[in-house]
Amino acid sequence: MKKFLIRICVFFIIIFLIDIFIGRVLSYMVANAKDGDFKACNYICDESLDDILVFGSSRAVRHYNPSIIGDSLGMACFNCGQDGMGVILNYGRYQLHCQNHRPKLIIYDILPAFDLLKNDNHKYLKWLMPYYDKKGIPDIFDSVDFAEFFKMRSMMYRYNSIYINVIANYVPTNCSRNIGYKPIDVSVDTIIINDHRKESVLTYDSVKIAFLNKMLDLSKETVFVFVVSPIFYEFDTTPLELVKKMCKEKGAHYIDFSNHPKYNHNVSYFSDGVHMNKRGADEFSRDLVRELKQRKILQIHNYDRKD
């Protein structure tokens, strides 16, 4: 028994030392990322002085061309979207960004599955884990699951499932990729779009909604616009009624392009059922700017420099 317990203890002491070593190496790599998602992440949290920030999931990453939006509105714009992520990550990133700089306009591409409805919230913490030591981040983890506090004691676990991205983003590549906006260049002829959405029961996630409210509260001096970007097929906007209500209460704006006839079923603008290609993204970015100007959203808040 004694021998067994001693060996178990020795094993965990070795693991503890390895945990610190691997954790520190990966932490260094994140802090010095030269490319990709971590470079973007570091930029959003520590460097960005952009006046317009775009948040959201992969639809945000693919649909909002910061050059078009920034140039048209006369302000610097950065696309902070992240594939498969929702409000939990976006709130975390926005909070870190606000510690250095307050943007003037937030464009939030909202998607019910990631921002409103109930599903496993652990996955939305993935890209925040390396930044766990930063101010305000532990509270986000606690809101999702109290056990995260204990898991985060492991330095290695903070890179769970993203260690390959960390290494890839640290190693310099010859062909440097853009960070932020990632357009899809797909030839129109080869796309396959299938509409096999299944009806499911709508259950709002109180955790996600609380983070949406927190994000709005954090942006009292910022123009906040929720946008539903175009989708190939007809889109059920019922779950978004709650967002409209929140906008009314908190003075945010809501623009819906989901059932816009120009985009619906227009294969030339899409790469798949939910993501637009570069052509669609550019067209949509121009339409969005036009809509923002028509509604005089920036003028209302005295932020419009051009007009």
């Binding site: 028994m1 067994f4 290695m156 396959i192």
Partner: protein
């Protein structure tokens, strides 16, 4: 208790310490402690359902005691079996039978409406019910004597490592271990148990749960993916369910070993089987043994005419399908396995008889059959399963495979390589046993991969749902 949960990490060391604080001479106290812990953990789910566990235990315990004493033991056996199986039927099959009967009645023009149940199924009910029934039949067939000590019997039924997802242990294996004074602490056994626990954890959190992310995405919307991506997802599901269930079984056996118990082996590298028949000698061995002992052999087994033998095989796997779930998809899955085994028997293809190339071809062929049968197992309806199979073979789509996270492939490689070495190069195990450096390096690497690649916020084990 789910082994990949935060609760397990906190409570198991505590259970371990408290259990070994009790001196070995107080064997009954050690058993009582384990029984108390087992019920306490079961109560965590839904306290009221512990009554069904207790009910099944009481019914089978007293029936087994009465069986040798009554004049018509068969009648008592039938009554006890019906009583034992009633909660399982009620919770698991009521809705299915109800819906199927109403469907048939509607076909002949009778419209009737009986509301289905919307209750959660008591966890592990299929496992502890089958374990208790196995004991009852063993007593009836005089393979074992009825157990007088209720404490020992109750612990056999509710033993916490195996109650949720098996293995379905035989009374003849576990009850003697409970009753006899176990050695205070068996170092070799505990080390082996810890090893099983570590590898089981790797299989579950680093392989099964990691694969599940890709598999679930594709299966939920298969038409939005190419046929080749769907095929890759089906292969990944085959590996996911293996890693999930075999991982759980290994952890259960590992926890048992750490506490000084030997539980039934449940998996033996099933995807290296050269036929579907052999697959069932390697997959969920405790269930296959149960079905063989209590369904196949009582029906006549193979000691009867060929036609009758084929029928026996079919019925056995039909029952296996029903056991897995109350849905026609499970029944079809069971029937596919039964029919394949009948064909193998007719063609004499149950074993390999073609040399190395023959072995490779037969392993691949068996894997493909099992793989396509898993599609029925995974899909919610038969039409979805058929839809996905048709979609896989639709050659009009682009021949591309989209696997977003390539790190899946690393853990899969480790899993397959380990099974391959165990299957064909078992002598390498000597090197592992002799060199502490190699052994500890492997332990540490596996642990590090679990930390870096494991999914820790995941749901339950797939088989807990059965």
């Amino acid at each position: 208790m789910i082994f990949n949960s935060f609760n397990f990490v906190v409570f198991f060391p505590l259970i371990f310490l408290l259990y070994y604080i009790i001196p070995v001479r107080f064997g009954k106290a050690r058993n009582a402690f384990l029984l108390f812990v087992s019920y306490l953990l079961y109560l965590q789910w839904k306290p009221i359902y512990a009554l069904f566990l207790l009910g099944v235990t009481l019914v089978t315990y007293f029936s087994a005691l009465l069986l040798p004493k009554v004049s018509k033991p068969y009648l008592l056996l039938v009554a006890s079996v019906l009583l034992t199986i009633f909660p399982l039927f009620f919770f698991k099959y009521f809705n299915f039978v109800n819906e199927s009967l109403l469907g048939v009645l509607e076909l002949i023009g009778i419209r009737w409406n009986i509301n289905g149940l919307n209750w959660a199924i008591p966890v592990g009910i299929s496992f502890f019910t089958f374990q208790a029934l196995g004991y009852l039949w063993d007593v009836y067939y005089k393979r074992i004597e009825a157990e007088n000590d209720f404490l020992s019997y109750a612990l056999f039924i509710s033993f916490f490592p195996s109650i949720l997802s098996g293995p379905i242990n035989k009374a003849s294996l576990v009850i003697p271990q409970i009753k006899n004074l176990r050695t205070y602490f068996d170092y070799e056994k505990a080390v082996k148990g810890a090893r099983f626990l570590l590898w089981g954890m790797f299989m579950k959190v680093a392989v099964a749960d990691r694969l599940a992310i890709f598999v679930d995405t594709v299966y939920e919307d298969y038409m939005a993916n190419t046929g080749l991506t769907c095929f890759a997802a089906s292969v990944f599901y085959s590996l996911q369910i293996y890693a999930d269930f075999a991982g759980y079984s290994l952890m259960a056996i590992g926890v048992g070993k750490i506490l000084g118990f030997e539980l039934t082996e449940n998996f033996r590298r099933p995807y290296f089987a050269v036929s579907v028949t052999e697959f069932w000698h390697r997959w969920h061995i405790s269930l296959s043994t149960w079905l063989k002992d209590y369904i196949y052999i009582p029906l006549g087994g193979s000691r009867c005419s060929k036609g009758r033998n084929y029928w026996n095989i079919f019925v056995t796997f039909f029952v296996s399908g029903i056991w897995h779930g109350a849905n026609w998809t499970f029944i079809i899955w069971g029937c596919v396995h039964g029919i394949c085994q009948i064909f193998e028997k007719i063609l004499g293809q149950q074993k390999n008889n073609y040399g190395l190339m023959g072995t490779i071809i037969k392993i691949l062929l068996t894997f493909l059959i099992v793989n396509f049968a898993w599609i029925f197992f995974r899909m919610p309806t038969i039409s979805d399963a058929l839809g996905m199979i048709i979609h896989i073979f639709d050659i009009s789509q682009p021949m591309t495979v989209d696997i977003p996270q390539k790190s899946h492939l690393l853990v899969l490689f480790i899993l397959i390589a380990k099974d391959f070495l165990d299957e064909y190069y078992s002598k390498l195990k000597n090197l592992f046993d002799k060199s502490i450096l190699i052994r500890w390096s492997i332990y540490i690497i596996v642990f590090v991969i679990i930390m870096l690649q494991g999914v820790f916020g995941a749901d339950q084990f797939i088989y807990v749902g059965f």
